[in-house]
Symmetry: C2
């Protein structure tokens, strides 16, 4: 948690300002992937099945809002860019968890339902989707939270840490 | 909380299904207003400053998803319609609270900041934005939660109850 302030939004209501910033299906899906550790344009594109121009637009807006930072890195052949969460982007975790909990309760996949699980690495127990571990009776730190998404993998994965 | 299932979305990930359903700035703003008790087309329009066709479209999609129900009522002159939250719509409260908490921390209005407050009517104490009352050490029921939005009014207002 930090006091990083997102520019360019204005309304007296904090829900309104948040909705102005991330009230978009693709932005939410990109932020979910960034939280799960995706950083590269090609990986976002492939995993989201999103058109190049829409992905560029949404990544640009997320960088402009300061939720992601764009940084150059060099692979074997050339300079590429990656996108990493800032603290303001990482602090959206409770929004993603609230969406997940609601989605789990009020929507169903067409195939067999393999529920997303949130695991507290300290005790190894499942948490209700969110940040509170009832087994430990405390809020779990970000680096203690694992997402188990059985439709992708059988292992519980740590969340991306924000760039500080 | 109920098991009302929203139709027409499909993805293995519950965050994805939720983002498909409500990943839209206007829908989030309409759901906020509905939660605060707005029910009439004209009141949504006036309070949101939204164009008629966009408002119609978004209300229609929210009705189609089963988050709002549309019902006829008769005023002095003619039959009108109102839009009320279903249980699936009301269960989005934690999403709205998570957006509010993030918006309060990471965005600022251009004018003086008059923070939104969430009050537990049972003990009369402020809660951190969300559903948990630390003073009572329990989750507050929906009908015990009041929103105080000082830019609108000095009084703490109850939330709309879902149509059952």
């Amino acid at each position: 948690m930090s006091d990083q302030i997102v520019p360019g939004v204005d309304a007296p209501c904090p829900i309104g300002r948040a909705a102005e910033t991330i009230g978009d299906r693709w932005m939410l899906l990109i932020l979910r992937h960034a939280t799960a550790g995706v950083t590269r344009f090609d990986d976002f594109r492939q995993q989201l099945g999103i058109a190049d121009n829409i992905l560029s637009n949404r990544l640009g807006r997320l960088v402009q809002s300061g939720l992601l930072v764009k940084a150059a890195y060099r692979d074997e052949r050339r300079t590429r860019h990656e996108y990493r969460l800032t603290t303001a982007g990482a602090d959206l975790l409770p929004v993603l968890h609230a969406l997940a909990a609601w989605g789990q309760q009020h929507t169903r996949p067409s195939g067999p339902d393999q529920p997303m699980r949130v695991i507290h690495s300290v005790c190894g127990q499942d948490m209700p989707i969110g940040e509170f571990c009832p087994h430990c009776d405390r809020v779990a730190a970000r680096d203690e939270i694992r997402w188990l998404r059985p439709w992708r993998s059988g292992s519980a994965e740590p969340l991306a840490e924000p760039v500080t």
